[in-house]
């Protein structure tokens, strides 16, 4: 329950309201290993602690990366940190995307908004072991062209690693020539075999609900659809009770669940 100290290497602005925090362990030790989809509890001195998913490459953890959006007092304080400042880290916690388990399958990844950040380690892993997978499709929806995260990586994945990347935005003005419409509109035509696909979804809960519907409509098995849930988390280890969803604590039994496991409560009001 005691945070470990990490020092800030760099803070990189991603879009107007998102940034990536790069961290090194303070004592010079190696960055601990983690699985794609897990999160850390990050503590800013005197301000507070928040759960944020890890965004670095799990196959080559040079340093710890967290990409997040400036939305609350803690993330706003985080954005103001400078190189060399210290931050407290607890983790990694939670379940992970089934990447190694899905070798041989088609992988369809559906991301909404900042939801691409928790999926980035999964994409890094898929790219690093590209030969182990069938078709890899990324469907990414966000608010506007200015909100597209990881533009450099998206281009690289598409060009160098045979990833089929489809981006859509909810609204566009001016020079945008790409898709406009919600991310679920990309699913019916996306090139993957529903019967041999594993789906990974992360985004706002409403977006995940309609995404699941479209994937199920295409015939993807409920147990092969994985969603990353968000709930209030204070401890990260299942003791504070805040993240409870029926039989699960999202912090330790999630955040990554199969849709099959949550089917009865996913989308049920106020559970």
């Amino acid at each position: 329950m005691i945070p470990q100290l990490y020092s800030v290497r760099q803070i990189k602005q991603e879009t107007h309201d998102t940034f990536t925090l790069e961290l090194d362990p303070k004592d010079g030790t190696k960055t601990p290993s983690f699985e794609a989809g897990q999160f850390n509890m990050l503590y800013v001195f005197g301000v507070g602690e928040v759960p944020i998913s890890i965004s670095s490459d799990p196959t080559a953890p040079k340093y710890l990366m967290h990409t997040t959006r400036e939305v609350g007092i803690v993330t706003k304080a985080m954005r103001k940190l400078k190189r060399g400042d210290m931050i407290g880290v607890r983790g990694p916690y939670g379940t992970h995307w089934p990447i190694e388990e899905s070798a041989g399958s088609d992988i369809v990844i559906v991301a909404g908004g900042i939801g691409l950040a928790p999926l980035k380690p999964a994409l890094c892993h898929l790219v690093a072991r590209r030969e182990n997978y069938g078709r890899v499709v990324l469907l990414y929806g966000t608010r506007s062209p200015n909100d597209i995260l990881f533009q450099k990586e998206l281009k690289q994945w598409r060009a160098d690693f045979d990833l089929e990347v489809y981006v859509t935005v909810d609204r566009a003005i001016g020079s945008w020539r790409g898709n406009v419409g919600v991310v679920t509109t990309l699913i019916p035509k996306a090139p993957f075999d529903p019967l041999s696909s594993v789906a990974l979804i992360c985004g706002p809960e409403v977006m995940m609900r309609y995404t699941v519907q479209e994937l199920v409509r295409r015939g993807v098995n409920h147990g092969k659809i994985h969603i990353s849930m968000e709930r209030n988390m204070k401890c990260g280890i299942g003791f504070c009770g805040h993240c409870q969803m029926e039989a699960s604590f999202v912090c330790k039994d999630g955040p990554v669940f199969t849709y099959g496991a949550l089917e009865n409560i996913f989308g049920k009001r106020e559970v």
Partner: protein, 152 residues
């Protein structure tokens, strides 16, 4: 005519349509193409056609004097563009602009309306298919409306 019948049958809109209906549709259909950035139709126009897109993508825009074209959705191969032919006064509600070269099948609106009146079986079948298009568009628009990634 035969080629158009086949082309309609291959488009998702024409999937599993009775041959008789396919023939009826083909009677008012034509292959059309649009250059990149060409307007397919404009808001308020009496463009009495519906389009089954075969390739390329189309932006559906609303023009704003201060912001220019605001794209509210894009449509591409396998989708249907335009359903104003169904609802009086049969005028287009939005601009449609080819984002790249577009190939499509156009079908005349007045022709379809006449056939629907003459043959209610045909009319009902067509209406079922168009209501599917409209419902899908409405559902997706509702999701866009809630500004899901915004600051709420």
């Amino acid at each position: 005519m035969e080629i158009l019948k086949l082309a309609i049958a291959e488009h998702p809109f024409g999937k599993n349509l009775e041959p008789r209906f396919l023939k009826m549709l083909a009677g008012g259909a034509a292959h059309v193409s649009f250059k990149q950035d060409q307007h397919i139709f404009r808001e308020g126009e009496e463009c009495d056609f519906t389009f089954l897109i075969n390739s390329g993508s189309v932006a559906v825009d609303i023009y704003s004097p201060t912001k220019g074209a605001i794209t509210i959705q894009t449509l591409s191969d396998g989708e249907v563009l335009g359903w104003s032919w169904l609802v009086p006064p049969f005028r287009k509600h939005f601009d449609a602009r080819a984002l790249e070269v577009v190939h499509a099948i156009s079908i005349k609106g007045q022709y379809l309306r006449d056939l629907c009146e003459q043959d209610h079986d045909f009319g009902y079948e067509l209406l079922k298919r168009f209501i599917g298009v409209v419902a899908n568009r409405l559902q997706k628009t509702r999701l866009q409306l809630i500004d899901i990634y915004g600051d709420n």
